[in-house]
């Protein structure tokens, strides 16, 4: 092979992947940015509108609350699962529990199930006459048996809990793998120093898990910021506008209302938020890396 050919070789290997990535991900993304400066109904000619869509988005209470709801979901999809997964992973990583592997697989299972199935199932569980309320009635907690997904107060947190249920297993798996990487010598050193369990956790375990925690937060936060599937299948943004999320607005404006330019602007804002949060998480993790 010629020297030239040998230099070109790696690029040839990259070509197939980029042949799919560029036209179907990168170029459309660039187009979204371009489209966001236009007014377009998808059928007739587009009209240039400069920052009009962005002005409308920032000025719209609905768009602002959509992003607000997304941040609420970040707590339920990301923070809560991480907090729950830490003790689960830590306490189970060393104890040899019969069937521990199987149990960990079980906890991961919600990840493998389509969000449509999750949405449809939880829609039944949280119904006014569904099993959750039946259980509450059985325990005499009648006052607590509300219309979860129809309540202006509880619809969003309910969806949040569904997210917690779905994502905790993933975090457990990530932390479990991460824990196995922490060198035993660090723990021995801590033991020699007379560190108790809490000290050990804070000084050795937590710093050692910075990487997996960052990955877990990144994945779950992106999940929360998108959340289209779950909302579409359960509440479609209701009651009122309590569960409207950016992904839903984008879909609705583009494919139901014929406001593609506005949808694109919201999509761009969403992307910026996702990038920013991801960057932030990984910055913090890097700074504190052992």
């Amino acid at each position: 092979m010629t020297a030239r050919g040998r230099r070109a070789l790696p690029y040839l290997y990259l070509l197939p992947a980029f042949l799919f990535f560029v036209p179907f991900v990168l170029v459309p993304f660039a187009h979204t940015v371009g489209l966001s400066f236009y007014d377009w109904d998808g059928l007739t000619r587009a009209a240039f509108t400069g920052l009009g869509n962005y002005r409308e988005a920032f000025g719209s209470a609905l768009v602002r609350s959509a992003f607000g709801h997304a941040f609420v979901l970040i707590f339920f999809f990301g923070v809560l699962p991480v907090l729950l997964a830490l003790p689960l992973a830590v306490s189970s990583v060393n104890a040899s529990i019969p069937g521990g592997n199987a149990l960990r697989t079980l906890i991961f299972l919600p990840q493998a199930i389509s969000t449509v199935v999750v949405g449809v199932s939880w829609g039944w569980i949280l119904a006014l006459d569904g099993p959750l309320n039946a259980g509450l009635h059985a325990f005499g907690l009648d006052w607590a048996a509300v219309d979860w997904l129809g309540s202006f107060t509880w619809a969003l947190p309910s969806l949040g809990i569904v997210g917690t249920w779905t994502l905790t297993g993933l975090c457990v798996a990530l932390f479990f793998a991460g824990l196995q990487q922490i060198p035993g010598s660090l723990y021995d050193a801590a033991a020699v120093d007379g560190a108790g369990r809490l000290r050990e956790f804070l000084a050795v375990t937590l710093p050692g898990l910075k990487g997996p925690i960052a990955v877990a937060l990144t994945v779950t936060v992106i999940s929360a910021l998108r959340a289209f599937d779950l909302v579409f299948v359960t509440t479609r943004g209701g009651p009122g506008t309590e569960t409207v999320v950016p992904g839903l607005l984008i879909y609705r404006r583009a494919f139901e209302d014929g406001r593609l330019g506005s949808a694109a602007a919201i999509a761009v804002i969403l992307s910026i938020v996702v990038f920013a949060v991801t960057l932030l998480i990984n910055r913090i993790a890097d700074r504190n890396a052992p």
Partner: protein, 451 residues
């Protein structure tokens, strides 16, 4: 920019990918130029195929298809091919189909701005005046229907201009009720708004659910609003909103009063628990199983209700404020038949549409328990069930009195984003009635300004 045009037809997928890969950043969107094609001409052997799209379902769909079969029997050289989509997905799906290169010939639209407006503005539907003159469509329908059939060709004004849609069936919103339960309330069938409200109170006191309603998709709440606004809002107010009269606003007194009434009904416990997570189908199923005294719903539910409940269910239009006044009803002449701009068989399509909208079909619909925009001679054989008979009579009276009011959500294309959720919030007491209506008016202003 020339580079930004849609890829010309006839390229393979691989070529398209290659072309797209070369497109530079920052291209603006381009209009699909599919609409400028010469008409398509489908054929099946010796027969010509007419492609028809419809969102109908249930018994009405059956009747439409039966009538279409009669057309094919009279014209053996033509085959009618139906594509059916559910009501919720229909608007999005129809737009996609009309913009594609497999666009149908005939489609059923939805009057006003909710669906037809954008399609007309995009030049996807054809004005029907030449055929209207030939077949007499402009004289066939009563005055209340005529206005709903028209749109200006530039798609900017609803209610005047060219004729775009020819209606065949009608619907009206009213109160279905459980005959036994109403009897038990002891006051007979309510004849005024006041009597209806006292029935709600009595029902609640005796442990019944007064109003069975499922508002999960958010539009049923608006239908409840329609019932009340029949009584409390004026013709001018309602027509003003629907047909774009700027001197009328959502915050006018009739609407504020109506919204406040709904909020009061909810606060008084008249509306079913769990209303916001219940679908209309669920509500209907519960009503059938004996939950709820009244079911506010559209007349299209008649067939299903009478099949399930027989003579245990009956119907009345919103009772007037003052005893004896003519009843007013919100409803529409349903969907309209349209001919698409790209169809190469417009004359055949017009013939088909004329067949589907003749009095003969109106009579068939009535026999099937449905209603139509054409007034029918009383002597014609009619309704198979008590319920259908009541609806038919109610409809005839509305036509005769000219008291049909159009749907308010005909007035804008994005009801789902503002009108429906806000109405749901108003009913649930989450936002005060006037404040909520201001939000709706604000969004309407934005829409009208953009026209």
């Amino acid at each position: 920019m020339a580079l930004c045009r849609a890829a010309p037809r006839g390229l393979t997928a691989a070529q398209v990918i290659a072309v797209i890969s070369v497109i530079s950043v920052g291209c603006g969107p381009d209009a699909s130029d599919d609409g400028a094609r010469s008409g398509r001409h489908a054929a099946d052997g010796d027969r010509r195929i007419l492609e028809v799209w419809t969102p109908e379902s249930g018994s009405r769909l059956q009747m439409v298809q039966q009538r279409a079969d009669q057309f094919s029997a009279a014209r053996p050289d033509v085959k009618i091919s139906f594509t059916v989509r559910d009501f919720g997905s229909y608007p999005a799906q129809l737009k996609l189909a009309l913009a594609s290169d497999s666009a149908p010939d005939v489609v059923i639209g939805n009057l006003g701005w909710s669906l037809d407006g954008p399609l007309i503005k995009a030049g996807l539907l054809r004005p029907l005046d030449p055929w209207a003159a030939r077949y007499g469509w402009d004289k066939r329908f009563p005055e209340v229907a005529q206005r709903q059939m028209r749109f200006t060709v530039d798609g900017k004004h609803f209610g005047r201009g060219a004729i775009f849609g020819i209606p065949y069936a009608a619907d009206v919103i009213g109160w279905f009720y459980n005959v036994d339960k109403l009897e038990k309330l002891g006051d007979g069938v309510p004849a005024t708004l006041g009597e209806l409200e006292s029935d709600f109170e009595t029902a609640r006191r005796t442990g019944e659910v007064p109003i069975m309603l499922g508002n999960k998709p958010q539009w049923p709440g608006l239908h409840l609003f329609y019932l009340v606004s029949c009584d409390l809002a004026s013709d001018r107010e309602i027509n003003g909103i629907v047909f774009g009269d700027r001197s009328v606003q959502w915050t006018d007194p009739g609407f504020v009063e109506s919204a406040r009434m709904l909020a009061r009904w909810n606060a008084s416990g008249y509306i079913a628990d769990g209303v916001n997570s219940m679908s209309p189908a669920d509500a209907l199923a519960r009503f059938v199983r004996g939950a709820g005294v009244f079911l506010p719903a559209g007349s299209w539910n008649a067939a299903e209700l009478s099949a399930a409940m027989g003579d245990d269910v009956a119907f009345f239009l919103m009772p007037p404020v003052r005893k004896g006044d003519p009843r007013r009803a919100t409803g529409s002449v349903g969907y309209g038949w349209h001919i698409t701009a790209t169809s190469g068989q417009a004359d055949l399509a017009a013939e088909f549409i004329d067949f589907m909208t003749q009095e003969a079909f109106a009579i068939q619909l009535a026999a099937g328990g449905d209603i139509s925009p054409l007034p029918i001679d009383d002597a014609v054989p009619r309704a198979p069930s008590r319920l259908a008979g009541e609806i038919f009579a109610a409809w005839q009276s509305v036509l005769a009195n000219g008291t049909l009011l159009p749907y308010l959500d005909f007035s804008a294309p994005n009801g789902a984003e503002v009108i429906y959720p806000t109405m749901q919030s108003i009913i649930a007491g989450q936002v005060e009635a006037r404040q909520g209506l201001e939000l709706i008016e604000q969004s309407r202003k934005e829409f009208l300004d953009s026209q």
